[in-house]
Amino acid sequence: MALEDKKRIESLDPRISRAHLSGGNHEDMTGLLHFQTYEVFHQNKRGAQHKHVGIVHAPNSDMALLYAKEQYARREQTANIWVAPSSCISATEYADDDIFTTTPEKLYRNPATYKVMDRIQAFKERGMTPSDEV
């Protein structure tokens, strides 16, 4: 950046002009504070499930709740918010997602796969007598 940028900044905004800032400072910021992240869970009304909506950076859980309110409760109706440090979340590995692949195959867990009407119908049609078949 050109040397003349070092001069005092005259802004359209009088508040910035009054701050007597100078441009052209490219030095590193030292001592930037590292906050941990919290996962945010949002409940839109009493009785509903909390849903994960995102992350905030905060030094502690009180501040995380405050930031979560500002960040994730600006639009939607909100009843309640949870925050939990991201480091406290345990998760399965995507690489191991084959552990879930057989779930849809377990038809005996599906109520629609239990069909008795055909059998009852046949029973009635033969006069409700026992069958020879097991």
Partner: protein
Amino acid sequence: MYGNAYIDPNEKFSSEEETPELLAAFQARIDAGDKIEPQDWMPAMYRKQLIRMIEQHAHSEIIGSLPEGTWITRAPGFRRKLALMAKVQDEVGHAQLLYSAAETLGKSREDMMNDLITGKSKYSNIFNYPALTWADSAVIAWLVDAGAIVNQLANSKGSYGPYCRALERICYEESFHLKYGHDNVVHLATGTKKQREMVQAAMTRWWTPLMHFFGPSDKASVHSDTLMRWKVKMASNDAMRQQFMDMYIPKIWDLGLTLPDPLLKKNTETGLWDYTEPDWEEFKRVINGDGPCNAERLAVRRMAEENGRWVARAINNEEAEHVRPFA
């Protein structure tokens, strides 16, 4: 597009572990419409380019709130002050969402903030121009946000899960910004002679930066092809510019406002807009630091960081006692 994420064509991205098998499996996952999550294997260039894009997008939200933020106190009427305050708060919130998304790729938020303040990272060039009048703030809220939405809607269909999720929330919130900006422009354009002159002057001033907004033509870039295949980049700069022109030039003309380009017209044969190429030398000059507001934007950001230190120190110190106000 935000900062026009430029990649040096000589930059080496591949590393030994990027075997053809891994790359093919990665591509297959993307082709199948799967989202990539932070824990997944990804090529170094994918990671690097996403960090660059998302970080620059985040910086653009933070810096973009500055030209509009200065108009809050001078916005005409209480309702507009409230709406503008809400919009500026949204923009800063969007930056937070985006920093969180970029952070999942391995660069800390604090490092990104430092790279912004030292000028190492770019942000959208358009925010290096001043908002001279209230009408400028109206044109920014309408058309800069419109351009951003074109880009963000496209990118929200991309392949990186955390970025897509952040963009979905951002697009949902931005829809009011667009309506608010349009409302302000319409109010001025249908108002007194003086109001019309003011909004016309602002429209003329912002046309070149708006044409720059989507970046130079990137059709011929090899990197661009790879990034499109990986669904990092979802449309070429030219395609997004055309989409923006298609959606908004008719609305601008509808208000009887003019745009400072005599060649501007929809070509009935190609179905595309004909226009004069904006001055790309100016674009390069401004993005490299020599624009009307670059120094001010970074100096204000640095001041905010320095002046906010005591707050950060206070909230980090749980032992500090509460002090009751005197009255």
